[in-house]
Amino acid sequence: MTYVVTESCIRCKYTDCVDVCPVDCFREGPNFLVIDPDECIDCAVCVPECPVNAIYAEDDVPGDQQSFIKLNAELSPDWTSITKSKPALPDADEWKDVKNKLDQLVK
């Protein structure tokens, strides 16, 4: 199994999750993070770190977020590894409660 980053992360990218990952499996894009499903060991440490509850176990991803399972797998090979947290995107707080923002994702 793997954990999956879902929509809430888009345009926020708080990055608290990456500091706690024991296997460095987060990958960073311009305005979103993903988890490399081949590296994630299912330890769940990152879940409570996310201030916007964007991370779910693969089997618990909400119905309307299912496409993110594939998206994490597709984007992780091309995005670079991120292992240390950094400041969130400048307008993260304005975007954190916005729903249906998949169209905002920059690949």
Binding site: V23, I41, D59, P77, T80
Partner: protein, 348 residues
């Protein structure tokens, strides 16, 4: 080379904390165990991922590191003389006609055991691969994830990838013995012994070694040999580099691997067990620790210890169906004192 199988009463797959404690619980019931692990040393995740991180939830141990926990467990199981088979991954598990289980490892070592305890956590730790199409064909020929025979690189143009101790140690070791060494890391930040980093910088400054910051993005093959690689830096600039052999040290990552193919019932990549015996869908095969799943399962080391105790009792009954298995206490039982190799206290 094929070895004749080792006959055993119990084989434990995984030398993490739960696998080690399984040795203890079996030992008290006078069952000797063999332990197999893919890592070169015992400890599993505790050694590979958290050697220096404190653990606070081991009962009666207010705090200990992953390494200390491993060392204490090894000390605790010493009386039972378990045989360790490290640095090899279990590939196959097949039930034989007589009910015994045939286990085969990556080093062609076979075991014929009456019981098996799978304490494999999240799987066997394996080297992270460089993910470029078609590279597998060159593995162990011109692309290496571990080095067995360093002399084979003499006179060759060597490229080493990675930013940890393994990458730097091999770069420093090989630099005088090969035609050239180029170290490639995705950023100019190394997680290795400061002394090795300083030495590497010194060698680069004196042009004895080359350091490139970037990633390998493609490669060229000629006559089944590696010819050159393309290194792309963070700004997208590419550079061609001639190479004979490529050594890759991207660290280790656990993979469930072949366990999924042993015909055991699996739910969410974990082995389903009952909570009386922690037995899998194959009789005599038990699963303990993070690898198992049952209603209410919590992935805690202490849960694994409990599971190991009950699995050991179940195995004892399975191995000796005629025999009544008594629960004995290490404080008072002369029989257990004998097993532990300690003298029984005398009371006056």
């Amino acid at each position: 080379m094929l070895h004749s199988p080792i006959e055993a009463d119990a084989v434990i797959i995984g030398a993490g904390p739960v696998g080690l404690f399984q040795v203890f619980e079996l030992g008290l019931l006078e069952i000797k165990a063999h332990v197999i692990d893919s890592l070169p040393e015992a400890g599993g995740q505790c050694i590979e991922l958290y050697p220096d991180k404190p653990i606070y939830d081991i009962p009666a141990v207010p705090v200990c590191t992953g390494r200390e926990l491993t060392q204490n467990l090894l000390k605790q199981i010493e009386p039972f003389g378990a045989q360790f088979h490290l640095g090899q991954e279990v590939r196959t598990l097949e039930q034989q006609a007589d009910g015994r289980l045939l286990i085969g490892t990556s080093q062609n070592q076979f075991f014929l055991s009456k019981t098996v305890f799978i304490a494999a956590g999240v799987g066997a730790f394996q080297p992270r691969k460089l993910s470029l199409e078609g590279l597998e064909a060159l593995e162990d020929k011109h692309i290496f994830y571990h080095v067995k025979h360093p002399e084979q690189f003499s006179g060759k143009k060597i490229v080493i990838c990675g930013g940890g101790d393994s990458a730097l140690d091999w770069a420093l070791f090989l630099v005088e013995k090969v035609a050239s060494v180029t170290l490639i890391h995705r950023r100019d930040d190394f997680k290795a012994a400061p002394k090795s980093i300083a030495k590497m910088r010194e060698l680069c400054a004196s042009k004895k070694m080359q350091l490139l910051i970037g990633q390998i993005t493609s490669y060229e093959v000629q006559d089944d040999r590696l010819k050159e690689i393309v290194v792309t830096d963070i700004d997208g600039n590419t550079q061609l580099l001639p190479v004979d052999d490529l050594l890759i040290f991207f660290g280790l990552s656990p993979k469930l691997g072949p366990i999924a193919e042993w015909g055991l019932n699996i739910d969410r990549k974990q082995l389903t067990v009952d909570t009386e015996k922690f037995q899998t869908s194959i009789p005599g095969v038990y699963a303990v620790g993070d690898i198992n799943i049952y209603p209410g399962k919590k992935k805690l080391i202490l849960s694994g210890f409990h599971e190991a105790a009950l699995a050991a009792f179940a195995a004892a009954a399975y191995l000796n169906p005629e025999k009544q298995i008594q629960l004995q206490y290490t404080t008072t039982s002369p029989k257990l004192h004998k097993a532990l190799g300690v003298s029984s206290p005398t009371f006056e």
